[in-house]
């Protein structure tokens, strides 16, 4: 997510391909190093939608179709 842009695709790839996976890991780290938060939207067992916040690439479910990066939260006025 970016102000003035909305959703901006950053990287795409197939986790089954080693080259793609390496690229996705690098991009994931780059986004987190830039201070963004990462979340994976998923469906809970009860069928309810929720998100999982991820802090490392290993925490991303293998069947996740996307990871959403968004600015870190800060206390507002």
């Amino acid at each position: 997510m970016k102000p003035g842009h909305g959703e901006v695709p950053i990287a795409e790839g197939d986790l089954e391909t080693a080259e793609d996976e390496e690229r996705l890991i690098d991009e994931f780290r780059r986004q987190l190093d830039a201070g963004l938060w990462a979340a994976v939207p998923l469906t809970a067992r009860a069928g309810q939608r929720q998100a999982r916040m991820v802090r490392s690439f290993d925490e991303i479910p293998r069947d996740a179709d996307r990871v959403i990066f968004f600015p870190r939260a800060a206390g507002g006025g």
């Binding site: 997510m1 909305g6 201070g35 809970a44 939608r49 929720q50 968004f70 939260a73 800060a74």
Partner: protein, 204 residues
């Protein structure tokens, strides 16, 4: 005589140069600044609108059907408290002791679902400090999605980050109470609609 006058004028100029020179430099700088061309920024009136449209489709693809319909119809969504950590899996969402109303670019309001009593306002923003220019605010629907993800994914971290206030600090409690009433009416209408469509389906 003429020589004497010229020499006096030169000496006077030399003595006054400390006073005159800075003024001349300032006047010249002002003149240049007035004549300098300001680079024009191309204004795109559709930029924010397109961003919001993309944000809406992203929100729709992430949250549940009910949350999306609620946001589309009412302008906010409800997130059950204690959802992060798997309590929703156990079917506990609808028995949650508290819930949140999530508005775009407004504080998150915690309330008691059973009584509609307002508990707190949580002021939180998602500023993009990397933006070199322009608006650092996310589109409305992205702001709602960010709050939804943070609340359902790691409620404790978001709430500990937010600034907590009593109800009424930024949002008019009467307005929030009206929104809760609107939401209950909206839910009843949805239930009636679902029930009538079931009757039609099961009719011989």
């Amino acid at each position: 005589m003429l020589l004497a006058l010229a020499a006096t004028a030169i000496v006077a100029l030399a003595l006054l140069s400390d006073l005159i020179a800075p003024r001349i430099e300032q006047a010249w700088a002002r003149h240049r600044a007035r004549r300098r061309r300001v680079p024009s920024i191309v204004y795109d009136p559709g930029r924010e609108l397109r961003a919001e449209q993309r944000a809406r489709s992203l929100l729709r693809s992430c949250v549940g059907e009910e949350e999306w319909a609620m946001y589309r119809d009412l302008g906010f969504i409800r997130v059950w408290g204690g959802q992060a950590g798997g309590s929703a899996d156990a079917g506990g969402a609808y028995q949650a002791p508290y819930a949140y109303l999530v508005y775009p670019h407004r504080p998150i309001v915690a309330y008691v679902p059973q009584t509609h009593r307002l508990l707190n306002e949580y002021c939180v923003t998602f500023p993009d400090d990397t933006a070199p220019y322009g608006n650092a605010r996310l589109p409305d629907s992205d702001d709602v999605l960010a709050k939804w993800m943070a609340l359902t994914g790691d409620e404790r971290r978001l709430i500990s980050t937010a600034n907590m206030h009593l109800p009424g600090r930024q949002l008019d409690p009467a307005q929030v109470t009206r929104d809760l009433w609107r939401m209950s009416q909206w839910e009843r209408a949805r239930m009636r609609s679902a029930a009538s469509s079931e009757q039609i389906d099961t009719a011989p």
